[in-house]
Amino acid sequence: MSHPRHELDPVIHLPVRFSIVAALSGVERVEFQFIRDTVEISDSLLSQHVTTLEQAGYVRVSKRKAGRRTKTWLSLTPKGQAAFNHHLAVLNQIAAPLAAGREVTEGT
């Protein structure tokens, strides 16, 4: 049980969810459609993933009026930010030996 993969967060482990959280991690809030286009998924699939993230307490969803239409905004909660940072650190920990191995191979 010493391999770092055991520390990976099961909620954001899925690549799509991880990408959603990653997109939200460096900004205050992002419109639903921007995430949909950036992560390249459908409205319904994004909606499902956002619901899962919201239930885990990682993402906050808010709706605001913008002219005649209502915009859906997504933002990362402090809990979500902490989970993302930890997950990323674990991924980097896993990837570090790979990068080192590549450097050795390229160096020979």
Binding site: R5, P15, F18, S19, V21, A22, A23, L24, S25, G26, V27, E28, R29, V30, E31, Q33, F34, T38, V39, A66, G67, L88, L91, N92, I94, A95, P97, L98, A99
Partner: protein, 142 residues
Amino acid sequence: MSQHVDKTRSQAAADAERVRARAIDAGRWFSGYLVAIGVISAVEITLIETFFPDGFARAIVSAAWVVCMLLLSWRAAQRSVWPAGATRRMWIAAGTWFGLYLFAIGPIVRWQFEHAVLPWALASVVMSLPFFIAAAWGRRHR
């Protein structure tokens, strides 16, 4: 097998970084927005304190400033991404600008220089510094 899984994970990390960078780039507009507010506010204060210190013209200039702010806000509302700390930066800058004008620099310049253009132009730029600093802070902490 294990190495393949690890490679997939490292790919996931790289993809996440790409997506994150794209979102951050989409929030770059906010610094320009703050600079625009600072410049328009500096011009407005200079005009109402020097060329149009009283009367109907003062009200017109103030109304023009309000219209500019509404247009900027409308344009900001069209954006899809708000950068980290955007709301906080905006309120701190606006509050500081207002406080400086109402209670600190504004009264001193009015008392010492009355309606002289150069002192008011310099003072209004200084009062707008919170907006410029907030814009620069956003660029640095990207």
